[in-house]
């Protein structure tokens, strides 16, 4: 599934992460697992992309982070969405809906 789908998913990384964090607080690996599941194993973000996106979202004030309380080994970094983050997610979602409609009109030849 390389090519267009892969590019488009990567291009929408921020919105995808916000979607999951709007549902509940989570951490890198858990989100990536859900992405794999929802795409039937066809797509997973590579982790460097994930961390860059987390930093970006944190800098923009859309998410904040905290440590998990695992008491053995490395602690998990959990992320939580902010008010601004929820608003950004809604805005991005609307833009995506709009883009989807426009693309459909342009690509579909209405013959099916």
């Amino acid at each position: 599934m390389a090519g267009i789908a892969s590019d488009m998913i990567r291009g929408n990384t921020d919105t995808i992460l916000l979607r999951f964090l709007c549902e509940k607080d989570s951490y890198g690996y858990e989100i990536n697992k859900q992405i794999l599941k929802l795409t039937d194993g066809q797509y997973g973000l590579n982790e460097a992309t994930l961390y860059t996106a987390f930093k970006r979202l944190e800098r923009a004030g859309y998410i904040t982070s905290y440590w998990g309380d695992e008491n053995q080994g490395a602690r998990r970094r959990y992320y939580t969405v902010t008010q601004e983050g929820r608003a950004a997610y809604e805005a991005n979602r609307n833009e995506w809906q709009n883009a989807k409609h426009l693309l459909e009109r342009l690509i579909e030849d209405g013959k099916d």
Binding site: Y29, N46, A48, T52, A74
Partner: protein
Amino acid sequence: MEKINEYLNQCFGPYVMSTELENLKEEILANATDHYNDLLSQGKSEAEAEETVLASLGDIRGLLQEIGAPKKETTSRSAQFTLDKDLIRDFADSVTGIFTRALDSLGHDGTRTEVYANIEKIEIHGVSVDIAVLPSSDELVHVCAEGNQDEISFEVVDDTLIIREVLSGNLIFRSGMDLALEVPSSLRTLDVQVVSGDLNMSGISLEKLGFQSTSGDLTIRHGSLGTLYMRSLSGDVYARLNDLDSFDAKLASGDVDVKCIYGGEFSAETQSGDIDAEIGETVTSFFAKATSGDVSVKLPRRLRIAPNLSSLSGSIDTGISSDPDGLPVTVRTISGDIKVRRK
């Protein structure tokens, strides 16, 4: 998990481990461990699990580059040391303390307001003077100067007001001066020469504006100018104007971002900055040169143009047809890209 630990140590090795990097490393390790354990519980062997996790990590080195954290320095004597931040902070505090106390004993901070009539020209000379200029509601020049009052001087010679930042003893920890000016429409010339101050103007019309700075920026939100003359090392110019009869800017690393509705002669040169220009139908000549920066020009729809564009290693993108009788539009860069479009 050995190979994974080793890989992370290798990626983070060259960097000075700040709290941010320590946190990131721990986060990556936690996610990798979860992933690894999941794979084991799915029946994969340790070796397979390690390979899969390593592949999924992606370009961690690239990530660290992007973060831009400082790298460790290795001298030829291989003396590696990590900076003790607390020690340095204490040292900096005590040094600043010494200078602050010295500063307090020299001069006094305050605000001074002056009003002048019949001024046609204002000259400002200083080291680090930030200047804001707005229109005044009467025919007078109002000046409000904030800073060390022992270092500010005002002088009127005929119809010219000269404001100077006079340097006293302390040259290291200068707080500089803030000037707020309200000027009438009868003011004709403003000439500013500063080392590091910014000049901000809004709603002003002048016959001539001169701005020379080492690192100060020029920002003009709206207004009209006869001549704009700018020379700067690293300062940028951002201007949105109705009229700009003559624009002459030479910068070293500053950017030029100028848009005007009318326009006349336009000449902009910068070495490593970019040039973004949009100019109106009254333009009489156009020259833009950016050594390594990009140039983007928007020209009036109906103007006949003879483009003369050259870039040594950059790309040239123009949809404009050349008219040999048209206005010569010259754009040169060495390694930047050129884009010339109609509005």
